[in-house]
């Protein structure tokens, strides 16, 4: 494979993982924008997507599409329950207590997953077979195309939801100014619940579409969650295109870094980028810079 083909290969695989990071990152951004909370447990809903699909598929023997849908639904319900049981009753929501409770939640969910399904990794079947395709000299799997396609679809639905439906607009109102939103009659608490539910949906979907490529296990949530968060930070916590670009950029940098420099440090790339962004431009690369009235 010549250099150009190699680079194209890296680019494709980078965009592919980047799309996953984008979906997970959107989950972080949506919750953050509606509530000001960083949900450390986000990664676990990604894990649940994959693991539940595996469970429904192989143990309960549901047909594949049904298994996936059921997994997404259960994960969404889990996300909503999580918000109801742990976030809503919190009397003193300081940043520290929110961090701790969401970390506690993520550990708890991971623990339950481990108890139920053990520590083994499981594979999900790819959606449409394993025959690699060649595009521009690089090999990609059909699953990668599914990932791109579904991500684009999700982004479109996301945009539609936030800009054209009443609930979506209400959530955006909450993120701009919570007090004002509640004063015009928006049920802020319901918006919070909704944001958690949507994020779990996005997260679990991300978990399902990547599982055929990277397997799934009880602990995949941690890294995926953190990288999704990096994507959101790069994107300036935007609930839209900013985070998507952030995810894609992260995926590309990771892929090129691993391919051209060293694969052992692949995971470190995301965090080094995270630190650089937080130090130099905490509002992200793709957000509109705002002058804030203190």
């Amino acid at each position: 494979m010549d250099l150009f083909q190699q680079l194209t290969q890296y680019a494709f695989s980078g965009l592919s993982t980047g799309a996953i990071y984008a979906l997970i990152g959107l989950g972080f951004a949506i919750i953050y924008n509606a509530t000001g909370i960083i949900n450390f447990a986000q990664g676990e809903f990604v894990m649940l997507g994959g693991m539940l699909t595996y469970f429904f598929l192989t143990v309960l023997k549901f047909p594949f599409p049904v298994a996936m849908t059921a997994a997404v639904l259960v994960s969404t319900a889990a996300g909503a329950t999580f918000e109801r049981l742990t976030i809503r009753p919190l009397k003193k929501p300081t940043p520290l207590s929110l961090v701790i409770i969401t970390i506690g939640g993520s550990i708890f969910i991971r623990g339950i997953a481990m108890l139920i399904w053990g520590k083994d990794t499981h594979a999900l079947p790819p959606f449409s077979g394993n025959e690699p395709l060649t595009i521009a000299g690089a090999t990609i799997l059909p699953q990668n195309l599914w990932i791109f396609g579904i991500t684009v679809l999700v982004i479109a639905v996301n945009k539609f939801f936030f800009y054209y439906t009443i609930n979506g607009k209400a959530m955006r109102a909450c993120s701009y100014n919570r007090t004002a939103a509640s004063l015009v009659g928006i049920d802020v608490r319901r918006m919070v619940l909704l944001s958690f539910a949507i994020s779990s949906t996005l997260g679990s979907m991300a978990g399902i579409i990547i599982a055929p490529l990277t397997m799934t296990a009880y602990d995949v949530g941690i890294m995926l969650g953190l990288k999704g968060f990096c994507a959101a930070i790069i994107g300036g916590m935007s609930s839209g295109i900013g985070t998507v670009l952030g995810g894609l950029l992260l995926g590309l940098l990771e892929s090129f870094g691993a391919g051209l420099i060293s694969s052992g440090y692949k995971d470190a790339i995301a965090f080094i980028i995270l630190l650089l962004i937080l130090f130099i431009r905490p509002q992200g690369l793709f957000s509109k810079a705002q002058t804030e009235r203190v």
Binding site: Q290, T291, R293, V294
Partner: protein, 250 residues
């Protein structure tokens, strides 16, 4: 004592302050008044180092302090209190005032960790002085109470005691009468006079006109980010522009 020159502040598309210039004389109580949105708190925040202003200068005793951060202003003798009372809620009243003495003490981490003798002597001195400032404000009996548990009026007094402990030459108070009932306000009146008698120049942002007209030697009026008028209370009360700004046209 304090001079503000050509201060302009722009936020995004809004000009909060435009070319504001005025002076504060040493040993006087100066009031800054104006309708809501006039830019009073923005002005305060700029003088006290919490915002970096867009343009203009601030001078303290003819030294340029434009852009100085709050922690640099305290040793220079400039302290402020807050409209919303930034209390150290988890600490006792005495401890709150002791923090005010931070710039007047020196023990560093090593000295404190190892309880060196210099540190102990300093602690004792600080406690005595802190109590004196609590007495000054009439709340010595609250020394051991947790600050967060106090009613609003008492918190105000703690904040003032704390600010005075820093040993300021000039004290800027942001709406000190806000949230006080009339009895507490007249007590505040007396306290501010006492502060002036202690050779501290006072600048107040205030809405309580009675208080302002009563104790201020000089008043600056802001409206829509510009200085509208400057003068004695009498002059301000009779100034037609000021009346128009507050009451509107005809």
């Amino acid at each position: 004592m304090l001079r503000v020159e050509g201060v302009t502040q722009v936020f995004g598309g809004i000009t909060a302050l435009e070319d504001v210039t005025f002076g504060v004389r040493k040993g006087e109580i100066t009031g800054v008044i104006g309708p809501n949105g006039a830019g009073k708190t923005t002005l305060f925040n700029i003088i006290t180092g919490l915002y970096s202003r867009t343009a203009g200068k601030v001078f303290l005793e003819e030294r340029d302090i434009s852009g100085f951060t709050p922690e640099r202003l305290a040793p220079q003798g400039l302290v402020r209190t807050f409209q919303n009372i930034e209390m150290f809620g988890q600490m006792t009243v005495l401890e709150n005032v002791l923090v005010g003495l931070h710039t007047r003490s020196r023990s560093g981490m090593i000295s404190c960790a190892f309880k060196l003798p210099g540190h102990l002597r300093e602690e004792r001195r600080m406690r005595e002085e802190a109590l004196r400032w609590l007495e000054f404000c009439g709340i010595a009996d609250l020394a051991g109470t947790t600050a967060g548990a106090l009613p609003f009026g008492k918190c105000r007094l703690v904040e003032i005691a704390r600010a005075m402990a820093v040993g300021p030459k000039i004290l800027l108070m942001d709406e000190p009468a806000a949230g006080l009932n009339s009895r507490e306000t007249s007590e505040l009146d007396g306290l501010i006079r006492k502060i002036r008698a202690n050779e501290v120049t006072v600048v107040l942002v205030e809405h309580d006109m009675e208080l302002v007209m009563d104790i201020c030697d000089s008043i600056v009026v802001l409206n829509l980010g510009r200085k509208l008028a400057e003068g004695t209370p009498r002059q301000i009360q009779e100034n037609p522009e000021v009346i128009k700004a507050y009451l509107g046209e005809g």
